[in-house]
Amino acid sequence: MELSQFIQNLMNGLAIGSVYAIFALGYTLVFSILGIINFAHGAVFTLGAYFTYTLVVGQFENNGLLKGVNLFPDGSPFSGQPLTFALATLLGATLAGLVAVLIERLAFRPMRSRGADPLLALVSSLGVALVIVNLIQLLVGAEIYNFPSDAYGDTPPALSFTLGGKIVIIRTVQVIIFAVSLVMLVILGYVIGRTKIGKALRAVAESPTTASLLGISVDRFILITFFLSGFLGGLAGTLVGTAFGVAGPYFGVVYGLKGLAVIVLGGLGSIPGAVAGGLVIGLAEAFVPPEFSAYKDAVAFALLFVILLVRPQGLLGRAAIQKV
C-alpha cells in the first residue's frame, strides 16, 4: 500500500472509529449497569441528529405532521434566530439523553421491578426503537434532512496534499468529529474514574444490592447512566448527521448494529474496550481496498468473528471466572 493511501485510510478510520466509540460507549454504560443491551440506542442516535437539526434550522419541511411548524415563531424570544450549531448540538444531545431516561422508565424499569427475565427488557427496548423510528417518520417524514451549509459540513478540507502523485485529503469534518469524540472520551473517563458520580456508578455496576446497602440510590444512578448513554448516542448522531446528512428515520439502524459489534469486540461492559473496539472497526473499514469498499461492513463483522474465536471475552474484556 502506498504511503498516501495509508495516511488517507488512517485518518478516515480514526474519524469514523471515534464516532463508533462514543456511540458504543452509550451501549456499554447501560450494559455495565444492567447487564442488558438497549436496542433503542440506535433510535436515540437518530433522534439526537433530528433534535439538533430542529434547533439549528427551526422547522421541518416535506411530508411529516410537523411540516412547517416553526420552533421560533414571530414574537417569540428567539424569533427568526435559530440556535448556533454548538449550542444546538449540546441541547440536542441533552434532549436525546432525556429520551433515553424516558426509555428507561417505560421499557426497562417496569421489567426490572417485576424481576422479569433480562431478555424481556431487551425485546421491550427493541419495541421502543421501532416505535421511535415510526414516530419520526410520522412526524417529520422519510425525507433526508441536511444541516445548512454554514454548519461545518461544507467547509474546505482541513488538509490537502499530494504524496507520490496521489492526493491525500483530510476533511475538516473528520478533524472535528475526532476532536469532539476525543474530548467526550476524556470527560467521560474523568467522570467515571474520578468523580463521586463515577464511583457510585461503578458501585451500582459491581453490585446493585451492595450499593443500595451503602446508601446509593440505584434507580437514580440507573437514570443517570441512561442519560449519559443517550447523550453520547445523540451526540454521535449529530456528528454523523452534520457530516453526511440525516438520512431518514432509519439513519441509526446501521450504527446500532455497528455499535453492538464494537462493544462485543472491545469486551462487553468495558469502557476502554468500547473505545478500542470503535477504533479497530473504524480502521478495519477504512483499510478495505476502495474497489471492495461496499463490503466494508462484512469485513468489520468478519474481523469481529475472528477476534471472538481467538479471544471470546473481546479485546479488553475480562474472562468470566467460573466458581466450582
Binding site: 474519524a15 469514523i16 425525507e143 441536511n146 476533511r171
Partner: protein
Amino acid sequence: MRHPAQRRSQLSSFIRPALGATLALSLSLGAQAQKVETISIGVAVAQTSNTALLGQEQVIGAKFAEKFLNGRGGINGTPFKLVFQDTGGDEAGAINAFQNLITKDRVLGIVGPTLSQQAFASDPIAERARVPVLGPSNTAKGIPQIGNFIARVSAPVSVVAPNAVRQALKLDPKIKEVAVLYAQNDAFSTSETGTFQQTAKDQGLTVATVQKFQTTDTDFTTQVTAVLNAKVDLVIISGLAADGGNLVKQLRQLGYKGLIIGGNGLNTSNMFPVCQKLCDGVIIAQAYSPAQPSAANQVFVKEYTAQYKKAPPQFAAQAYAGVQVMVEALKVIDRKKKLNTWDLDDLRAELNKQILLGKYNTPLGPIAFDKEGEVIQKEFYVAQIRMKDAKTGSFVYLK
C-alpha cells in the same frame, strides 16, 4: 376415559361434515360472480421505509390525479376512488399490499409497487388473480414479461440512461476518462450501472475506475479519493437519493470539478436537501420533464405547481400517468357498458385488454403499450440540476 382412537373418530365425524359444508359454501361463493360495487383503483407504493423517499412522491402524484381527474368528470360523470396500501420497502410489504387490494378492497386495477424488486414478488399475485397492474417506477428488465396483466408506464432504464452520457459528451466533447460508482446492494443500481458502463464504452470512453458502495453508506471518502486519483473527466453514479446525494456532495467538497451524471435513483428533488448547492450541474436522464410541451403536461404542471409550490418530479408524474391510463381505459369500457353492471373478474380482464389497446396523452407525452405491456414512449429528456439556493432547485431541461 375414551381411547384416543375413539376421540379421533368422534372428532372426524364432526369435522368432516363441517369441512364439507365450508367447502360447499366457499365453492358456491366462488362460483357466484362478484359485482362491481365501487370504482376503485389500488395504489400500492412505499409510504414507509427508506423507499418512502420515492413512494411519497408517488402518493402525491396519484392523489393529485384522483382530485384532478375527478374534478374533470371522473369516469364519464362517475367519480372514481383510489385505495392506498403501503408496501414499505420490501417484497413482503408489497405482497401484503397487493393481497389486500385484490381481496379486501376489490380494486379494479393496481398502480404499483415502487421498486422493481418488489414488483417481481407482488406482480405474480395480481397475475394469478387476473388483476391489471401498472408499474409506475419499475424500470428493471423483465417487468412486463411477468405476465399478461402486468404493464408499466415507466420506461426501462436501458432506454433512458444512455441519453445522459450522450448529453455530457455534447457539453464537454473532451471527456475521455470516466469513473463509475454504484450501490452494489441495490438491484436497480447494479442493473443501471451495466447500462451506463456499456454506453460509456460505446461512446469511446475509458472506464478508469469502478467503485462500489452501499445505499446505507454515509462516508464516501475512500471512493472519492480513488476517483480523484484516477483523474477522470466524468463521474457516473447509480444509487438512491440519500447515498447518491451524499456522494455528489463529498465529490465536490473534496475537489472534483468535472461533470457528474446521476441515474434514475437520483432523479428526485429529495436529493436537493442532501447536496444542497453542490447538486448544481448534475446531469440526469429522465423519462419525464416538466418542460415537456404537451397540453396534458402543461395543465398538470400548472395545477401541480399551484398546489405543491414546486414542479412535479418524475415519480409523481409517472404515478399520475398510471392512474390516468386506468381511468381513461375505464372510460372507454364504461361507454360500451356501464361499469356497475359488470362482474368484477370480467371487468378486470376487460380493463387489462383496454389498457393495452389505448393511446394516452399523459404528462409523460403520448404513450401506448406493446402487446407485452411495455410502455411505448417516444420522448426522453436530459436535465441538469440548477440550485437557486441551498434548499430550492430545479431540473432544467437540456435540448
